[in-house]
Symmetry: C2
Subunit: 399 residues, 2 copies
């Protein structure tokens, strides 16, 4: 949580954290400015002091809504600095930061955060590091203070994720009903005009259902049938028909409109009747889930291997069986810490405030199917774990 | 255009360009991988050689669709490198790049591009620069080779922007019709249930109209009425009623689904009757447009100042009158080069292949109105300029 940031700065010897870049697509900036509708900003957070938000004059009203102390950057006059530097924009940018850093007493180990252009920032930070004698420019290569703080969520964040969960479950229910509302013809779902219902039609309906709830797809939702359902990252092929008896993996991970918190859930559906093989595999998957072995990747591998199913532990390149890690934290990024993987050096733990997905799956592309169940969980202050995904698992949809 | 990249590398003394990061939200990466649906990648472009795309094994099929030579990165085994480095992930990442660079003969002045975490990349590039004696890490602070190449568009890019224009005009027309379909009560538009139609209702309808055409809002569309229409970046207030006689600035800049090309257009509407003041201001705005003076910011300022209207040239902090620059290039970013501003050192020109907006506006927040007209233009090979925005300007919507 945000209150952890000062302690993390102390622990890691960081005097000042500077967050730069856009708000959109920049979770650290979004987190620090409380998601207000501004385009670009600089946030300066000195250890044990409140953060300060610097932003352009056109966005001063929106910036004020962040609740932070705000500074209108027009007072620094970058255009004048460019002129003074004879058109050298790099030198002018160093001068700009120097002016701001002097005003706010920024010195010592100054760590930079946020998303930006890699090469541009390399040139800029090098010039800044060389140009300002009181400042040592630094960064954090892994698990930086903001990523670490974001590993646990406060009540307001939970409310927003919970609301996203409610809307996401509505969309999944709507799409199940939408499919069921179609007639069956030759083992395929058929539209009123006699043409076949396709993956593309379902995806269009998903987009409409999301728009109606003012939530967004950051990237294309996964809605894959048959063989494609057997490839975890396949997004599905628009022209494929919706056929009875095949598994449909529906993995939906929408975000609040304007950037913000994500939800992430997966259901596997079979329309009509499922084969005995699919039913058996699904039963194994559900057993894994119910055994709660699923909380840890190692125990999940134990569970599947005991049933003769290949896992990333038996073969790092496994493509048939259980082929990925168990889950991930979720919040302002769809994948964030903690990671439910067993790679060397993963010391993440589930603690009060953690929000994470559990998503075991079984994949058999060569046999034309795959399946996954994914819910979002939250660890309460008292250690109890709540499933934020209020939607039944049920595999078979009757038509 | 892409064919300019080798010449730009030569001119700037860059031996190898390395693009890193996600595809989503990273226009340079999107440009180089031709927009294929992969999550993260590395693109290595040696001068006078075809680019090579390195990406994960789970996305090998999607990567192949880029048409580039692709390398499956699983062969480098980063997990093993982390183990060998005793868990030091920075050292392992340097080793990873070193292995790749040796395989592809990457040395000399190696420039990095793409979006990424600023502090993380600072630490990484520093370690890489120090760790690889044959490599000098570099970046470009402004107008890098890809941004410069993207300043002109090829036929395929134009087709996509043109199609986005067609869909965007449809949405604008739909929203005009949507408003006109409402009854008037007490000077406001009224819904069937007797409640007042609001900005929020119109924005919801915009979201639906976009979803229906499978195009997306990257950030919230501008739909602002009255005083808010007088503030160029105001996105409008959801609870405001749609009132007759006030200007509505509708600035819509959707993107192809999944990331890709943008369109950007603005229309100003008044429902019912417009006051003489608004009609007069609109006439001035249209005259500016028709005079084609609008192609350059300087001439636009000349035009307005000759009519007693304040501009950024008469007052850099101007809030009433003509208060922003004239336009911007558009493509994989909603704002890209060329820039139609007159800041010191702007040497951008309009040449065959340029796609740019022209968007003069007049703003009087204290008098409760503002107005802007924005179209997208394309300069053909023969120098003729085509307006890609097939939509009338008309101010007044009869109800």
């Amino acid at each position: 949580m945000k209150r952890d940031i000062d302690g993390l700065m102390q622990e890691r010897g960081i005097d000042v954290a500077v967050v730069t870049g856009a708000v959109k697509g920049n979770a650290t900036m979004y987190y620090m400015v409380n998601g207000v509708g501004i385009s670009h900003a600089i946030v300066i957070k000195k250890r044990r002091e409140e953060p300060v938000l610097l932003c352009g004059t056109m966005e001063r009203e929106e910036a004020a809504a962040s609740g932070l102390k705000t500074i209108d950057t027009s007072k620094y006059n970058i255009l004048e600095m460019i002129k003074e530097a004879g058109g050298d924009r790099l030198a002018a940018s160093v001068k700009y930061y120097q002016t701001i850093f002097e005003e706010f007493g920024v010195k010592g180990r100054v760590a930079f955060y946020g998303q930006g252009d890699v090469g541009r920032n390399w040139e800029f930070l090098k010039a800044l590091d060389e140009g300002l004698p009181d400042v040592t420019v630094t960064g954090e290569f892994i698990d930086d203070i903001f990523i670490t703080a974001r590993m646990t969520k406060g009540p307001e964040e939970i409310d927003r994720i919970r609301e996203m969960g409610r809307k996401t479950c509505e969309v999944v229910g709507h799409i199940a009903d939408f499919m069921k509302s179609h007639k069956v013809d030759g083992g395929k779902l058929t539209k009123d005009d006699g043409s076949t219902l396709t993956i593309g039609d379902c995806k269009a309906e998903i987009k409409m259902a999301l728009a109606r709830r003012k939530i967004i797809e950051e990237v294309d939702t996964i809605f894959a049938i048959g063989r494609d359902a057997g490839i975890p990252h396949s997004r599905g092929n628009d022209s494929d028909p919706i056929e009875l008896g095949k598994t449909i993996v529906f993995d939906i991970f929408p975000q609040e409109a304007g950037g913000g918190y994500f939800f992430d859930m997966t259901r596997t559906f079979v329309l009509g009747e499922a084969s005995q093989e699919i039913l058996d595999s699904y039963k194994t998957l559900e057993e894994c889930y119910d055994a709660k072995a699923s909380v840890y990747q190692t125990r999940t591998c134990d569970f599947f291997e005991a049933r003769g199913i290949e896992t990333p532990r038996t073969d790092p390149h496994v493509r048939n069986g259980y082929v990925h890690s168990l889950g991930h934290g979720i919040g302002l990024d769809v994948h964030e810490k903690p990671t439910l993987s067993d790679f060397s050096g993963n010391t993440d733990t589930l603690v009060p405030g953690s929000v994470f997905t559990v998503e075991p799956g079984l994949y058999y592309p060569d046999r034309g199917y795959g399946m996954r169940i994914e819910d979002v969980y939250y660890v309460h202050e008292d250690g109890t774990v709540e499933n934020l995904t209020n939607f039944p698992r049920g595999l078979v949809l009757e038509v």
